[in-house]
């Protein structure tokens, strides 16, 4: 426990890093499968089956990252967990209902009588929308320090829309990678239509957080941090330009670079995430509670950490195995 000095210092930091990692992986992974759900109304019937086939083997494991993230928040920072979740009571409830609807629709849409399929497709879309919108809303409230005023509500409504569009964007880039033919062409079109969500979403959060909090303003706009941090926005800008150029040329005749938009979007999400993490550190409840104040007993954290160091590489390993088994273009899902 004393490997890295005072356990009351390095253990909360390690768990904040683990929490961040889980949230990041969740946003990327469930982001693309939620996004596919958000795009549902724009697709034809046979395309819907193909779209679900592209995420069918993965969605369950993707959502497990959310359970891990909320679990880490719960076990490592119990008082923050209570404060954040009771403050976000209603949006959490909306998200849970959304997750329930879309999760069961995966199964019901192909197992219920065929005449009910359209209903379950509808439930899948509505569930995906509820989940994405409520997550975007919670992001906005979090950035605004969990305070409820007319302005924060309006801001959160805006981030709700932007995050949903951002999810649909990463979902569309996933479809570029996993599909071919007419659906792939459509996915390129959807990506071009959704890229503004990323630009405006990242822009809004980047502008709003320093304006809302003097502390965050100082962290970004004092010397020499300002210059050291410049690569973050510059790289994001460059990636968006590259994405736009790539989308104009895709799909290529030999399907080369079909992976590029998805990969570039992941990097964009990572950059945006690091920007946010930098802004809010060391607070876990913005401007109220730091990770050090909220952390559980070092003894408990240590016993979880030992397990994590063994298990996390295994989880990453067999997750990689699953993505390898189901690599390539999505075909019709079959139990055989």
């Amino acid at each position: 426990m004393y490997l890295f000095g005072d356990p009351a210092t390095w253990l909360p930091l390690a768990f904040a890093a683990l929490l961040g990692l889980s949230i990041l992986i969740y946003v990327v992974l469930d982001g693309f499968d939620l996004g596919v759900g958000v795009l549902f109304p724009f697709a034809e019937q046979d395309e819907k089956d193909r779209m679900v086939a592209s995420i069918g083997p993965f969605w369950d494991a993707n959502e497990t990252w959310l359970v891990l993230a909320i679990g880490i928040l719960l076990v490592a920072f119990p008082s923050a967990h209570g404060t954040i979740l009771t403050a976000l009571y209603l949006p959490v409830a909306v998200m849970l209902v959304g997750l329930i609807l879309r999760g069961v629709s995966f199964e019901f849409r192909v197992k219920a009588p065929i005449r009910h399929k359209a209903t379950w497709d509808g439930a899948f879309y509505i569930g995906s929308m509820m989940t994405s919108l409520s997550q975007g809303y919670m992001l906005g409230m979090y950035v605004m320090g969990l305070e409820v005023t007319a302005f924060t509500l309006a801001f959160s409504a805006v981030t709700a829309v932007f995050l949903t569009v951002a999810y649909s964007f990463i979902g569309a880039t996933w479809l570029i990678l996993k599909t071919e033919g007419a659906l792939q062409l459509k996915a390129v079109k959807w990506s071009k239509g959704g890229i503004w969500g990323i630009v405006l979403g990242m822009g809004a959060v980047s502008l709003a957080s320093p304006l809302v909090s003097d502390r965050i303003f100082d962290k970004w706009f004092s010397m020499p941090e300002f210059f050291l941090l410049m690569p973050l926005p510059l790289m994001s800008g460059a990636l968006i330009v590259l994405l736009w150029l790539a989308l104009r040329r895709l799909p290529t005749s030999d399907d080369s670079f079909a992976w590029f938009p998805f990969a570039a979007t992941i990097v964009l999400f990572v950059l945006g995430f690091f920007g946010m993490a930098y802004s809010f550190y060391p607070f876990i409840v913005p401007d109220q509670l730091t990770i050090y104040e909220a952390a559980s007993a070092p003894e408990s954290l240590f016993i979880i950490l030992i397990g994590t160091l063994f298990v996390l590489p295994m989880i990453l390993g067999y997750t990689a195995l699953a993505y390898t088994v189901f690599r390539g273009k999505a075909t019709t899902l079959s139990y055989d």
Binding site: T64, G71, L99, S296, E299, Y318, L321
Partner: protein, 461 residues
């Protein structure tokens, strides 16, 4: 109604809905592995048929379990922040180990188990089936460790109102854990046994005479007949363990108010907390003393011992515990009767499924869900029986509840209840729909071509 009772109903509704599906997937995972291994051994197509049908039930149940489980993990924070703030140092690591050793394992390998049959070598598919079953069981292990700790906390000390672990071995193997784990795993086995038999009986009654349906009906009833006596035994041991650690719960289960010898076994009564006695009591003399103390003059604890000097009641509400317990026992008796009668008729003159009388087959259909009834009744007995404590002797339920406005809890509760009711109806409807389809010999849904077709599709690509 206030926030406390609404939050309790909400969590109770949530966990009741949730437990229905893990109860199925824990044992069904192992059953599917059994089907797969039987096929590998015998090469008999009926085991593949059985696997194909029941893997769909598994997939559907699993999805229902996942989404309702996510809901629960959030409700700890939204409704019960006091729980984690007070015993988070114990509950946290146990939940974390559940997520890390169980949830990811089952979620990742489920994809390969469901959709990977033609994409991976057969051994990897079998291994995936095993890992999914193993994952569900690990999940049950960790969550029952935590639940048992809430009933019989051990291996910790309190500092400033916060629990700190002193001995993790004692935390994990707390006094009621082995009994509760065995009782729950057997409950899962029985739930699946009667579901297998019930849906298969339904298929048989509407004319399905396939070898697959014979195999599952026989497997279900045989497992049921084998497990039910074990479960009765395990339940008895669990009861004696509860008597030692939570006597007030046993007193409520027995409907016994006064501590003393020669306590009757109350078969029926309406416990009355106003008069602190039973109305309309029918009992067997000395029965409770005999069961709990193995002697007619054994002293059995009574509820009146758990009322403080100032009149504060420190035992659970009596009627819900009393009736839940009786519903569980009655369901268990019905299971015993049905499964043993079935095995008897199947063994007589070695006639197999043909030897089963029609009324018995019809009885199996509603009994398909008897496992659910018994499991829920059992959980209500033990969980309501823990009140007014959330963690026995450490934290009251009242102290842990969130300060969320009651109307907010009420409105979300209504939404949850509506969704759960709709999903439950859809789930049961789809099970019988799949059974009817399978009975007619139709392919089971658009994405399940029969084996030769699948090969053609693969070859065409």
């Amino acid at each position: 109604m206030d926030t406390l009772i609404l939050s309790r109903i909400q969590f109770g509704a949530n966990i009741s809905f949730h437990i229905l599906f893990p109860t199925i997937t824990i044992a069904l995972g192992w059953t599917l592995l059994f089907f797969k291994l039987r096929f590998a051994r015998t090469g008999d197509q009926k085991w593949v048929e059985a696997y194909r049908f029941w893997v769909k039930v598994f997939a559907l149940s699993f999805a229902m379990g996942v989404v309702s489980g996510i809901t629960m993990s959030f409700q700890f924070g939204t409704n019960w922040p006091g729980f984690m703030e007070s015993v988070g140092n114990i509950a946290g690591p146990l939940l974390a180990y559940e997520v890390m050793t169980a949830f990811f394992l089952e979620a990742v390998f489920l994809g390969i188990m469901l959709f990977g049959m033609s994409k991976v070598p057969s051994w990897l598919h079998t291994l995936s089936t095993f890992l999914v079953a193993f994952g569900t069981t690990m999940s049950a292990f960790w969550i029952l460790v935590l639940n048992s700790w809430m009933h019989t906390p051990a291996g910790f000390e309190m500092r400033d109102g916060v629990a700190f672990a002193t001995d993790w071995w004692e935390v994990i193997f707390n006094p009621s854990m082995p009994y509760r784990l065995v009782h729950m795993l057997l409950a899962s086995g029985l739930t699946v046994a009667f579901l297998l038999a019930g849906l298969s009986a339904f298929r048989w009654l509407i004319g399905d005479r396939s070898d697959g349906v014979r195999a599952t009906l026989k497997t279900g009833m045989t497992i049921g007949a084998f497990l039910i006596p074990l479960q009765i035994l395990a339940g008895d041991f669990h009861g004696l363990n509860t008597l030692e650690h939570q006597p007030q719960k046993v007193a409520a289960m027995e409907g016994n108010w006064e501590t003393g010898p020669n306590v009757p076994l109350v078969l029926f009564a309406i416990p009355n907390e106003e008069t602190r006695s039973n109305d309309f009591e029918i009992g067997i003399p000395n029965g409770a003393s005999l069961i709990l103390k193995h002697s007619p003059d054994g002293v059995v604890p009574g509820l009146n011992d758990f009322v403080a000097e100032d009149g504060t009641v420190q035992h659970p509400p009596v009627a819900p515990v009393f009736f839940s317990f009786r519903i569980m026992v009655a369901t268990g008796m019905a299971m015993l009767l049905l499964s043993w009668a079935s095995v008897f008729f199947m063994a007589r003159k070695r006639r197999g499924v043909e030897g089963l009388p029609k009324p018995l087959l019809w009885a199996m259909v509603p009994m398909a869900f008897s496992g659910w009834v018994a499991t829920l009744a059992g959980w209500y007995t033990t969980e309501i029986g823990r009140q007014p404590w959330l963690v026995q002797g450490v934290l009251t339920t009242e102290a842990a509840v969130a300060d969320v406005p009651a109307p907010m809890v009420a409105s979300t509760l209504i939404v949850y209840l509506a969704i759960y009711a709709a999903l439950l109806a859809a789930y049961i409807g789809v099970l019988f729909y799949l059974a009817r389809k399978a009975a007619k010999g139709e392919p089971l849904g658009p994405r399940i071509p029969t084996a030769p077709e699948a090969q053609v599709t693969v070859a065409a690509e």
